[in-house]
Symmetry: C2
Subunit: 458 residues, 2 copies
Amino acid sequence: MNLPQTLVEIVGADGVLAGEDVRSRFVSWVDQSPCQALAIVRPASTEQVTRVLAACHAAGQPVVPMGGLTGLVRGCVAGPGEIGLSLERMHRVESVDPINRIMTVEAGVPVQVVQEEAEKHGLLYPVDFGARGSAHIGGSVATNAGGNSVIRYGMTRDSVLGLEAVLADGTVISSMNRMIKNNAAYDLKQLFIGTEGTLGVITRLVLRLREAPRSTQTAMVACTEFADVTQLLKHMDAALGGALSAFEVMWNDFYRLVTTPPAKGSPPLDQDHPYYVLLESSGGDATRDQAQFEAALGEAIEAGLVADAVMASSEAQREALWALRDDVESVFRLGMPVPFDISLPVTEMEGYVAEAMGRLEREWPEYRRFALGHLGDGNLHIVAAGPPSQAARHGIERCVYEPLAARGGSVSAEHGIGLDKQPWLGLSRNEAELALMRRLKDALDPKGILNPGRVLPA
Amino acid sequence: MNLPQTLVEIVGADGVLAGEDVRSRFVSWVDQSPCQALAIVRPASTEQVTRVLAACHAAGQPVVPMGGLTGLVRGCVAGPGEIGLSLERMHRVESVDPINRIMTVEAGVPVQVVQEEAEKHGLLYPVDFGARGSAHIGGSVATNAGGNSVIRYGMTRDSVLGLEAVLADGTVISSMNRMIKNNAAYDLKQLFIGTEGTLGVITRLVLRLREAPRSTQTAMVACTEFADVTQLLKHMDAALGGALSAFEVMWNDFYRLVTTPPAKGSPPLDQDHPYYVLLESSGGDATRDQAQFEAALGEAIEAGLVADAVMASSEAQREALWALRDDVESVFRLGMPVPFDISLPVTEMEGYVAEAMGRLEREWPEYRRFALGHLGDGNLHIVAAGPPSQAARHGIERCVYEPLAARGGSVSAEHGIGLDKQPWLGLSRNEAELALMRRLKDALDPKGILNPGRVLPA
């Protein structure tokens, strides 16, 4: 078999990019150097994906599934000798069903298009994150993307009812379930959610939609002790009875950075508090929801959990509060950013941050350090910034990752493992877990052609 | 190896039941004939489970994991030539952590004990179903149990953060994650949730708890058209903004049965409406929640979705409404009950019920037929009752299951497959899905000793 010719026969001449056409594309969103892949194959249907994979499988050709290339761990980067399998031509929204509250899409649909299609029907696709405009829904499922609303709606896993995926050998697994409850034997979709394209290529999805909230209440509060932050989470969650939709925490250093020029933001609260929490609830009735939110916050203030608070009274004010949380650019201004996405039980967080930050201060004093996170989900983002240096990057990684192991933390909360986090995977997973993952990989992709070397060692 | 002697050495003489000690136990909750197993082995620790499985694996001895034996599909019934592996001696609540809102337990703890332990800390373990007092938490995870609160809190799958399981060969997979977000490679717990003990034996669990609701609002309403029922679900879900916690539907025949003597219940609403919905919301503030619930229901009445309604104004009234929904005994009085647990998209339900009921009426006129369900989750329970007969049972099954296939329905919403539903599994799963399940089974249990012949054919 002449593989290049076979691929052209399957997807058409337009469907295969090679040479300069590959080089003219970026490696990814974060690495804008020329793509080094052997070729980029762009099937237009599941049937074409099947035939492409069957041909590559027969030839022992490594294949890297490509979504919107917005991943942050090099899980989707096709390199020399590899074929990139891009789902970009499979971008059809097949149907939106407002009564069953489901949407059926091809994997190449951008996440933002899914959100917008849902909105047209008064519905919500609840997974949301910064890269929504470029990220493909298929990639977001393959990486089990998180985001800001996990505390309310769960991870991407919780918004997938059914899917269709193609195994390494071209076998189509069509498991397009539309129900919330379905215990008819093994739930096969779980094999493809969060496994980063190493067990199969997701081609189509049945997504679960929710009724769109009709009101949003937002506040920024300051806390003096970390224990107040964790109690506040419990209190607001209980008092709002299911309506809490964001609980984002900024440590003092980050808050100070993003509320001090040259940052664009100004401080809605004094800069001297140890912790700042961005709180949001969303519900079905603006007037009642606002009253409930204010009452719950009032109780927190009375109980001494909150030192100071400001409530957004307009959409502009709400956006200004979120802009502080989202202002990572201010960190980028300080030099090479080394960002982290980790998770650990909230009771471990204070001690962990003290330990990791202390180590960073001692070992890499020329780097500034910041902590913030989706605390409601145990998700912490740490960012260090300073002079560009590969040695420093690795050293900083040690300071951040190593203290996680003893605390039962995870080296990846929501970004996956890809290539970049693989050296650290052993801190969060034990030998038996890794061996079982390998057993699964061998069972589903015995030749190891799918995204080889990502997540698990080659 | 002398297997019986080895097993006694591992778990002690007390730990192995044989002969009359086995025969004196029931097969299961629904079949109270004597257990026919070769032996029942009762390990007291994960280490003992490991050694028991390693010994059985070496001997090629079939093993059936046993929880509280409350399953309804013979997934946990150890028969002749099989060893029952009971987790009944592993019933320790290891810890409750109210800040991280997690509980760590051994698999043999009854579901009700989990619920009660959570309550002691102002928390909620949200999975609830009738067999709570006997069902083991491990069995409920292995079967991904559903229940009445799935619409709000999801299936059991959504309340499991981490677990420990032992593979057929005795390998321990300890994956005791405590975080909501953890994308450090494959999410191995998914292999053991809902696979009914065919891929491993769950020994320990980290459960996710929620803040306990502080108030509950309950109403029974009547609807004239099925389209009103589905619109009502959407309306209440949106208007209550996350607080809707039950949406149970009864078709007229069932409602009439349970509100007419000799049934204990009396009709809170006229008996002439086609559909009755038991609605519940739960929240964080009794006064506000009640106002919101009344307002949402008022809107539904104004919009013509609801023909009549009654609200529970006391706990006794609430219990009386739920007692109607839960009164399956009234069906049992009519003869041999043939109960079904299926799911399908709500838009398919009206047509499906008409078709299945029509077929039952034509083919099995001497059986009475009833429909009710957790409509919010697409879960429908159909019950036929009449003269005891195995032939009738099979014929009734055909009437109920066969019309599901064309509608994308599932032969098992929440009860699993076990032995009983295996003949029908092909109506809900295609060849490729079944082949992939088999590939998983072969990869994890190559000798096929774990719960052989359950879920998948032997």
